[in-house]
Amino acid sequence: MKKKRIRFVLKTAVSLFLCSFVVLPFYMVFINSLKTRGEAARMSMALPAEWLWENYLIVIREGRLAQGFASSLCYALSSTSLGVLLSAMGAFVLSRRRTGFHNFLYYFILSGLFFPVNYVTLVRLFQWLHLTNTRLGIILVFTSAMIPFCVFTVYSFVQSVPVQMDEAAVIDGAGAVHLFFRIIFPLMKPTLITCFILQFMGVWSDFLTPLYLSSKSRLFPMTMAVYQFFGKNKSYWNYIFADIVLTCLPVVIVYLVGQRYIIGGLTTGAVKE
């Protein structure tokens, strides 16, 4: 058993070493966000001479963070809710009908997992549809972009729900809408929550979509706000670090709360064989 002990110690050492690579940058960012400008520029790991919590207040005011937070939340919540709901409906029907045509539609949607979005022509399309610099436009783009992944995830889940469920519901007199929303939808909940969390974090982190599609700073999500702030205040690392902490916080909270769903969702497909 001695060998086992050595291996345990070795594994623990390696794991701790690797985790330190993740933790140290965060620590450095956090501790320097509380320093003065001059101190923060040295980026040292030392504790601040004076704990300047007001850095955070300054950043929230100067970096338009409240507005960015509201925009991010608006984009992430509405596009994710819409995208997950529509994908669930689509995946359910496609997975149950399964003729050649429906299979084609499924793979047609799946191909979106690969294709890049063409933002340049999207800008043009927005002009035609009068969606330029509107929240609705940005939300619709996020929604469409998540449909392939969500359909993919829900589709394989629906296959595991026995068709007998549907038959029983029909005998009880249920129609399509009733069947889906009252019977299938509750069963899908864990899968849908997974999709929701993953896509929520995806939208929150996205940078390219608002970069192309919003030229007005009132539409900027947090990612854009923080990048703009960095561009204007390149030498104020204390403020930049505070900005980083505030932008990370929401996703980190969502991650810690929804962790088990994330792992569950990533594994669909991974363990199918």
Binding site: V93, F115, P116, N118, A145, G175, I262, G269, E273
Partner: protein, 294 residues
């Protein structure tokens, strides 16, 4: 049971419409516009067909767009190797015989949920030559001779990008591998042990064949991510120093910003063709797997 009534097509029509309108249609429009001189002056001068001129310019101009395409492909290949191989061994290590592995997993996965912009900014600081954490750490460890100008030296900048990308992505890849590992029945390893298999033989004959699904998922997401990479390059180096770290998407954004929309969509269309080729290959393998399983 009436399938048409019970599973109405309008359920599927809703997501399909959005998907086609805001995802597929712009790509097709892009193909059309890539053969034109579409630009910021089109409103004044009108739109003209120019045939293959944009593509011709991409492959011959001194701007080196070709290098950007090559960089994209290289990034896709190398970034995947740099993440998948260590992540596999990490997953094997973390899978058993370790206390508190849940905490390690949580921490190692954490970077992959952060916005790229944030990661880029954090590493602009960490990789800072004067006072960044990495160089300071190297000096403190007596390895000062390894200090580099991580983001401005032509010869190390790609290494830095791969490093930061791995920092972000390894936890994600590892998590998927772990799920695959957990699904392998323990008896297989016992049988292999009885046959006297060593670590590498177990890896080769039990683990890898049983993990096809996990490897596949990682490759699909890794390849599509690699081909479309933008944020991390844009925030870390913005294509520099010079144009050394330029990829298709950064060139495309630059062309868009300077009002050369036709050129920009031509580059996008090239990316579309590359991803389509990769996608078709992967979907083929996937659908073959499904028929095998049935």
């Amino acid at each position: 049971m009436n399938k048409k009534k019970l599973y109405p097509m309008w359920f599927a029509a809703l997501p399909l419409t959005l998907y086609i309108a805001f995802f597929l249609f712009p790509s097709l429009m892009g193909i059309f516009y890539s053969f034109t001189d579409w630009g910021s002056r089109t409103a004044v001068n009108g739109l003209h067909f120019v045939g293959l001129q944009n593509y011709f310019e991409i492959f011959t101009s001194h701007e080196n767009y070709g290098q950007g395409i090559a960089n994209t492909l290289r990034f896709t290949v190398i970034s995947n190797i740099v993440k998948l191989v260590p992540a596999l061994f990490l997953a094997i290590m973390l899978q058993e015989g370790l206390k508190g592995k849940g905490i390690y997993r949580t921490i190692l996965y954490l970077p992959s949920i952060l916005p790229f912009v944030i990661i880029g900014l954090i590493f602009r600081s960490v990789l800072n030559y004067q006072s960044g954490l990495l160089n300071a750490g190297l000096t403190a460890a007596g390895l000062g001779f390894l200090k580099q100008k991580w983001l401005s030296d032509l010869h190390v900048v790609w290494g830095s990008i791969f490093g930061v990308d791995a920092w972000r992505g390894i936890g994600y890849v590892m998590t998927i591998f772990l799920a695959g590992l957990n699904a392998i029945p323990h008896d297989y390893y016992e049988a292999a042990m009885i046959d006297g298999a060593d670590f590498w033989q177990k890896l080769r004959y039990v683990t890898l064949p049983m993990m096809k699904g996990a490897v596949m998922i990682n490759l699909v997401f890794g390849i599509t991510y690699g081909l479309k990479v933008f944020d991390i390059v844009y925030v870390l180096t913005n294509g520099g120093p010079g144009h050394v770290t330029e990829v298709i998407t950064t060139y495309s954004y630059q062309l868009y910003s300077s009002g050369r929309y036709g050129m920009s969509t031509a580059l996008n269309t090239i990316l579309l063709v590359i991803t389509a080729a990769a996608g078709i290959a992967v979907v083929r393998v996937m659908s073959r797997r499904e028929t095998e399983a049935a």
